[in-house]
C-alpha cells in the first residue's frame, strides 16, 4: 500500500510539474495591447465592409481576452487571445456569399455555416445560424499569447465581454 501511495504521489508530482511556472514581463502586456489594437483595427475594417454589403450596422459588439491553452492538467489558463464579436441583422438572402465576394483579399473559405478569413496572424469568421435567420455573427481574434491566468486576472486591461465601438 505504501508503495502505491508513493508511486501515485510521484504521478501527481509529474502532473504538477508539467503545469510549469508563471511569471510575466511588461513585454507580454505590451504584446497583449498590440494584439488588441490590431484585432480592433481589422474588426472595424471588416465591420465597415459587412455594413455596406449587408445594408446594416453592427450590433452587440463586445471585446474579451479569452483563455486558450491550459497549464498541464491544471484548469487554469497559460495563454490568452483577444477577440471581438458583433452581430449584423440583415435581410440579405445569401450574406456569406456576398461577403465572400467583398473580402477576397483575406483569402475567404467556406466552412460549415461560416466564412473564414485570415489577415497575417489574425483570423476571423462570419457565421449564419440555422434557427436564427437574418442574423450574421462576426468573430475576429488574434493568436494565443502566453500569460499565466493569475497575471492576466490582475492586469487592468483584462476584459471579458465589454461593449466595444466598431465605428
Amino acid at each position: 500500500m505504501t508503495a502505491r501511495i508513493l508511486a501515485a504521489t510521484a504521478a501527481a508530482l509529474t502532473i504538477m510539474l508539467a503545469g510549469g511556472c508563471g511569471g510575466v514581463s511588461d513585454q507580454t502586456y505590451t504584446e497583449l495591447e498590440h494584439q488588441r489594437d490590431d484585432v480592433l483595427a481589422w474588426a472595424r475594417e471588416l465591420s465597415a465592409v459587412a455594413s455596406t454589403t449587408l445594408a446594416t450596422s453592427p450590433e452587440d459588439a463586445t471585446e474579451a481576452y479569452d483563455g486558450v491553452a491550459q497549464k498541464g492538467t491544471s484548469d487554469n489558463y497559460k495563454s490568452y487571445k483577444y477577440d471581438v464579436q458583433a452581430d449584423f441583422v440583415t435581410e440579405h438572402q445569401e450574406p456569406l456569399d456576398a461577403l465572400h465576394d467583398e473580402l477576397e483579399e483575406f483569402s475567404p473559405t467556406f466552412s460549415s455555416n461560416s466564412l473564414r478569413l485570415s489577415h497575417g496572424d489574425l483570423t476571423a469568421f462570419f457565421q449564419i445560424y440555422p434557427k436564427g435567420p437574418g442574423k450574421v455573427g462576426m468573430f475576429v481574434e488574434g493568436p494565443a499569447i502566453e500569460i499565466d491566468q493569475e497575471d492576466m486576472s490582475d492586469w487592468d486591461g483584462f476584459v471579458v465581454g465589454e461593449p466595444v465601438d466598431l465605428a
Binding site: I5, A18, T73, S74
Partner: protein, 596 residues
C-alpha cells in the same frame, strides 16, 4: 346582385419602443444587492457586535443607546431598498415581455400594411368577374378583421406598458427621503425572519423544496435579499432562486471588497475577492457566449457560490441554461488542481458542451460545472494519490444531484460527467450514494474508485456508463488493468520514453481503468487530431474542445442520442504484455461541433 367591398384600413403605426428590460432587471439586481449590504450592516450593528461579549455593564448600555438607532435605520433602509428592488425587477420582467409583444406587433403591422396595399391594388380597377369579386370581398373582410385584432392588441400593449410604469413609479415614490424610510420601515418585522425560522432543520432536499414552495412570494424575495448565502447554497431550492441569491452574494463581494484598496485587504478579504472575481469572469464568459443555432445569448445560473469554503479554495457551480426547466441537464465535475479560480476554464467547458448539444439537435439543455468539493489543489495536491477527497467529494456531488432531482417535479434527463480526478469523484458518488443520474461519463479517468469493479456497480446500467479516454492521455493510463499490472511485470514493458514512468504508475491509480474491456462500460471515441505520439498531459485537457470526437460524443449523450455515440474499442490487457489500446492506431477525426 350588388357586392359591397370595404377596403381594409391602413393599420396604425406601432410606436417606437427601445426600453431595455434586461438593463432594468440588472438595476433591480443591483438594488437587491444594496439591500443585502444594508441588511448585513443592520444585523451586525444590532446583533453580532452587540452580542460579541466584548462589552458589558455601562459600556454595553452606551453601545445600545448610541448604535441601536443606526442598526434600526440600516434595517429600514434595507427593507426600503428591497421594496424598490422588487418593484424594479418586476418592471424589468414586464418590459422584457412587452418587448417581445412589441416585436410581434411590429411584424404583424408590416404584414398587414403590405396586405392592405395589395388588396387596394386588386380593387383598382375592380374585377369584372363575380367570383373574383367575391374572393376580393372575402380577403378584404379577413384582412380588416386581422387589422382590428392588431389594433386591439396594440391598445392592450399600450395600457400594459402604462400600468407597468405607473406601478414602478408608485413603488419608488413610496420612500424617497430618509425620514420617510424610517417612518415607513423602522421597527417593521422583516418577513425573512419568520421564513428563516420555519426552514427545515435537516438537509433533505425534498423537505426544503416543500418548505420553499410553502412560502409567500414576499417571503422568498425577502430571504433572497437577507440570507443569500442560505438560499443560494441549499439543495432543494429552485435554481432560479438560488441564482438570484448567489448573484446578490457575488455582486456584494465584488462591490464591498473592490472598494477596499488592495493593500488594505486582509488575507481572507483578498481570497474572497479573488474568488469573486473568478466567478464574475466565468459568469461574463457564459453571458457573452451564444447558441450556435440561434445566435441568442446564453444566461448563466449561479447554482453554488461559497467563496471561503475549503480553507479558501472556494465552492462554485454555474450553469449555461435553465436548470429548473431544461429537458437535458448535465453536471461536469473537474479534477486535479481545481479550485474556485478554475471557474474560467470550467465555464468554457460547459459553454462548449451546451453549444455542441445544441448543434447536434438538443433544444432544451442546461450544462453546469460543479466545483463543489475539495479537489486536490495547491498545498493538498498530494491528495490525488488517494481516494479520500474523491470519496468525500462524491458525497457532496450526490447531495447536489439529489437536490436537482428534488427541485424538479418532472422526469428530466440527468448526466453526471467527471474529468480526471473528477471521474473518480463521480464514480464514488454513484457507487456509494446512488443519486438519481441517468447517464455517467468518465473522461481521462485515473480510475473509477476502489468501490467499482465494473460499470454495473455505478448503478445506472453498464450501457449508460460512458468512458472517453484519449489513447495518449497520461492520466487515462493510471487506472488498474488486467490480471497482473505492469507495475508487477516491471518497468520497460511499455514502449516510448514515458513507458517506464507509466509502467511504474499504472496500477497505482484510483481504481479500475474504466476504458478496459473487463470494466464493461461503453467507451466512445475521444482521440484528438493533435494527439501526441507518446503518453502526455496535453491530451488530458482536450476533451471539451470544440471539433473533437469527445465533445461531439458527450453532446449526443447529454441529448440522450445514444445511437449517435461513436463507440471505440476498449483497452485490452493480454497476459503476455502490457495493456493494448486499439484507439492508438486509429486516425483521429474532427467532427464539427458548432458550425464555425
Amino acid at each position: 346582385m350588388t357586392i359591397t367591398i370595404s377596403l381594409p384600413p391602413t393599420p396604425n403605426e406601432t410606436p417606437e419602443f427601445d426600453a431595455d428590460g434586461e438593463k432594468v432587471q440588472d438595476a433591480g439586481t443591483t438594488l437587491r444587492t444594496s439591500s443585502s449590504i444594508f441588511d448585513d450592516h443592520g444585523s451586525f450593528v444590532g446583533g453580532k457586535a452587540k452580542d460579541s461579549g466584548l462589552l458589558d455593564g455601562q459600556a454595553a448600555a452606551a453601545y445600545v443607546q448610541a448604535l441601536s438607532p443606526i442598526g434600526r435605520h440600516a434595517d429600514a433602509c434595507s427593507l426600503a431598498l428591497r421594496a424598490a428592488a422588487n418593484a424594479v425587477l418586476g418592471h424589468g420582467d414586464e418590459l422584457v415581455d412587452l418587448a417581445k409583444r412589441h416585436q410581434q406587433l411590429r411584424s404583424d403591422r408590416e404584414h398587414l400594411a403590405r396586405e392592405a396595399a395589395a388588396l387596394a391594388s386588386r380593387a383598382n380597377p375592380l374585377p369584372t368577374d363575380e367570383a373574383e369579386l367575391q374572393r376580393l370581398k372575402a380577403d378584404c373582410d379577413r384582412c380588416t378583421s386581422q387589422i382590428e385584432a392588431y389594433e386591439s392588441d396594440l391598445v392592450r400593449w399600450t395600457e400594459d406598458l402604462k400600468a407597468s410604469e405607473d406601478k414602478v413609479t408608485a413603488a419608488l415614490r413610496g420612500a424617497m427621503t430618509e425620514t420617510q424610510i424610517d417612518q415607513t420601515y423602522a421597527g417593521v418585522a422583516d418577513p425573512a425572519d419568520a421564513a428563516r425560522d420555519s426552514m427545515p432543520s435537516g438537509k433533505d432536499p425534498k423537505a426544503v423544496k416543500a418548505w420553499w414552495d410553502g412560502l409567500t412570494e414576499e417571503q422568498r424575495a425577502a430571504l433572497i435579499a437577507a440570507d443569500p448565502e442560505i438560499v443560494g447554497n441549499t439543495d432543494g431550492i429552485p435554481a432560479a432562486d438560488r441564482s438570484a441569491a448567489n448573484t446578490v452574494s457575488l455582486d456584494r463581494d465584488l462591490a464591498e471588497l473592490g472598494a477596499i484598496p488592495e493593500d488594505q485587504r486582509t488575507d481572507d478579504e483578498q481570497t474572497r475577492y479573488d474568488n469573486a472575481k473568478a466567478a464574475d469572469v466565468a459568469r461574463d464568459k457564459i453571458e457573452r457566449s451564444k447558441d450556435p443555432m440561434t445566435n441568442e445569448h446564453y444566461e448563466a445560473q449561479v447554482y453554488i457560490y461559497d467563496p471561503m469554503a475549503f480553507g479558501g479554495d472556494g465552492r462554485v457551480a454555474m450553469a449555461v441554461g435553465d436548470l429548473d426547466t431544461a429537458r437535458n441537464v448535465s453536471v461536469s465535475v473537474p479534477g486535479l488542481t481545481t479550485d474556485m479560480e478554475s471557474a474560467q476554464s470550467n465555464a468554457e467547458n460547459v459553454i462548449n458542451l451546451h453549444q455542441a448539444a445544441s448543434f447536434e439537435g438538443g433544444t432544451s439543455t442546461a450544462t453546469m460545472f460543479w466545483i463543489g468539493y475539495d479537489a486536490p489543489s495547491g498545498a493538498d495536491s498530494a491528495g490525488v494519490a488517494t481516494e479520500g477527497m474523491a470519496a468525500a467529494g462524491g458525497e457532496r456531488l450526490a447531495d447536489t444531484l439529489d437536490g436537482l432531482n428534488a427541485m424538479r417535479s418532472d422526469d428530466f434527463h440527468l448526466t453526471a460527467i467527471g474529468h480526471s480526478y473528477g471521474s473518480t469523484t463521480v464514480a464514488h458518488a454513484m457507487t456509494d450514494h446512488h443519486p438519481g443520474a441517468d447517464d455517467v461519463v468518465l473522461l481521462g479517468s485515473p480510475g473509477a474508485g476502489d468501490d467499482a469493479d465494473s460499470a454495473d456497480d455505478l448503478g445506472v446500467g453498464s450501457g449508460h456508463v460512458f468512458v472517453g479516454t484519449n489513447s495518449e492521455d497520461l492520466v487515462g493510463r493510471l487506472g488498474q488493468t488486467g490480471w497482473v499490472s505492469p507495475a508487477a511485470i516491471g518497468a520497460g514493458v511499455l514502449t516510448g520514453p514515458l513507458g517506464g514512468v507509466v509502467a511504474q504508475m499504472a496500477g497505482a491509480g484510483l481504481g479500475h481503468n474504466p476504458a478496459e474491456d473487463d470494466f464493461g462500460a461503453v467507451r466512445f471515441q475521444a482521440e484528438s487530431t493533435s494527439r501526441g505520439s507518446i503518453p502526455n498531459i496535453d491530451d488530458h485537457v482536450k476533451y471539451y474542445d470544440h471539433d473533437t470526437e469527445s465533445l461531439a460524443n458527450m453532446a449526443h449523450i447529454v441529448n440522450g442520442q445514444y445511437d449517435d455515440v461513436v463507440r471505440a474499442g476498449q483497452v485490452h490487457d493480454p497476459w503476455y504484455r502490457g495493456p493494448v489500446d486499439p484507439e492508438s492506431d486509429r486516425t483521429p477525426t474532427s467532427p464539427d461541433t458548432d458550425g464555425s
